[in-house]
Symmetry: C2
């Protein structure tokens, strides 16, 4: 039931994933509404079941309080299915805060991780660049940025197949000593770590893919992510508006391509990194195709045992995380 | 001598400003090099003089230390010409830190301002939106964000002609209570102020021009500014690369327009806000046209008495700034 277009687009996305990849789906939510949506999709023969539930975290409600007071809210029930082994992964288009709080509470974090993060390739222009954190943790200490880097490296290594990912701190200048206090302190920790640290990068370097893992706090990451989304949409609209001077059909294609290259929301479904289990947060504005994409990412994370890989990565970097 | 294409593009920009607007220019730098550049521009009859100087702040040198140890560095000399009344404004494409330190040291800040800021319309898509700070102050306290807002309102009012500018905090969510500690604390101060405060905006709202003044610290502002620059360049390159399916000449135009709409570096020359005098910082990568644009902005700031206007604005909001 989470996401701007729930339940319709979520159900359609689940049907798409079940039909295309044969993924087994458990939908958590109000039985009657979900049944109606499923029958609209002619999903009768697909491996989809419904787990009835009708409570959820309300808009503006602090998730940790809601989870403590009402352990039967849908995100807790869905995450609980992973904890009890009834499901291999949980996928939600609901607010990151709720998904994360449920994951942290019910599945716990990996050794060496204080706060889970969301990360992934940030722009179509830079498909080999993982940005962490994209919005999970808005107030960060320098040593937490280091743990984000380790998790981002794990994602780059295991999901993108990059053997020795380069790591950079996102800052307001490339030279050592540029940036705010948080980044300057983190710089020292990164230098001493066993990461393949290449120094600071700036905003302009993000579309250029200058590093495989770019680290920032979730406040900066969220704003960047959404600026790229807004710019992608604005550019696409602008290209469409130029129909007077160029052939309309070609412009539509160009607009769609540019939107795809700049707009992270179109493709994103990121696993929470640092959680002892697979929990994937999709974009609130996801439509069916993006939902199916998020489900495919969850499936991939299970198949490659991302959690095991990240756990090994964390113990390799080890004690420097606990400064 | 500041800027990536100095002195050539700086001199060409100065010549352009003198030729187009009849602006009187004093070039500060090494006499022989500047003379040679001027003669390449056939600038003989224009109102341009040279103030010889051959020391400058070096790359990586902390500006405040350089200014104290060598008061004859070019940015100090140029700023000093404003202090002594020999010039009405100083314009530089050199690093913001040096321009700002010289301005703060020699011209001082306005009553109520602890740290000057750089701000202005951020994107071609949102020409009525001033973003402050774009990189002058990377570590900010909440009450400093409030003074940035007041200065941004002054710029919106006096330069853009917006009578009662709407003000927003840039955050990781629109609801009150979303954001990092800095923004949450600033939210309270903004609410209590006499500003036309409309709450938080997100990154996606920037190209939409949802507020006339959007406030963030200089760390976030710098990264946003440069991400937009990088995305604009990447999109323009991508459009150009599509010559297979669309007529090349039209695509060139479209690419240039999109670049202009997204790329703040192409147009920016921002006055330092909060300084007791006019000091304009241009983009390091400025070519002649952008340099002439920065000079035109400086001229406008002088003609409308922006400093007097900002001073009045600050005393109007008054005591709440000194929390």
């Amino acid at each position: 039931m989470g996401g701007d277009f729930a339940p319709r687009e979520i159900v359609k996305g689940a049907v798409l994933a079940a039909r295309t990849d044969g993924t087994n789906i458990i939908l958590v939510g109000p039985k009657d509404r979900l049944k109606a949506e499923l029958s609209d999709c002619s999903a009768g023969s697909l491996p989809i079941t419904i787990h009835h539930n009708d409570d959820f975290i309300r808009e503006g409600e602090p998730p940790t309080i809601a989870l403590r007071q009402r352990p039967g809210v849908s995100i807790a029930v869905a995450t609980g299915l992973v904890k009890t082994g009834h499901a291999d992964a949980v996928v939600s288009m609901g607010p990151t805060g709720g998904v994360m709080a449920a994951a942290a509470l019910l599945l716990g974090t990996l050794e060496g991780v204080e706060r889970p993060v969301v990360g992934g390739p940030f722009l179509g222009f830079a498909p080999q660049t993982v940005v962490v954190d994209l919005g999970a943790t808005v107030d960060c200490k320098p040593h937490q940025l280091l743990s984000f880097a380790v998790l981002g490296c794990g994602l780059a290594r295991f999901v993108l197949g990059i053997p020795n990912p380069t790591v950079a701190l996102l800052s307001s200048g490339t030279e050592e000593g540029k940036g705010n206090r948080q980044v300057k302190e983190a710089y020292e920790l990164f230098k001493e770590s066993s990461l393949n640290f290449i120094g600071n990068v700036e905003g302009i370097d993000l579309p250029r893919g200058k590093a495989n893992v770019v680290v920032c706090d979730g406040f900066v990451g969220n704003i960047l992510f959404k600026l790229a989304e807004g710019l992608g949409a604005a550019v696409a609209d602008y290209i469409r508006s130029r129909a007077d001077s160029l052939p309309q059909a070609d412009l539509e294609n160009l607009a769609a391509e540019v939107f795809h290259l700049t707009n992270p929301g179109e493709r994103m479904g990121g696993p929470l990194l640092g959680i002892n289990g697979v929990s994937v947060v999709g974009h609130g504005r996801s439509t069916a195709k993006a939902v199916a994409g998020a489900i495919a990412i969850a499936r991939l994370c299970v198949e490659i045992d991302l959690v095991g890989g990240l756990s090994a990565e964390l113990s390799r970097v080890g004690k420097i995380l606990r400064t």
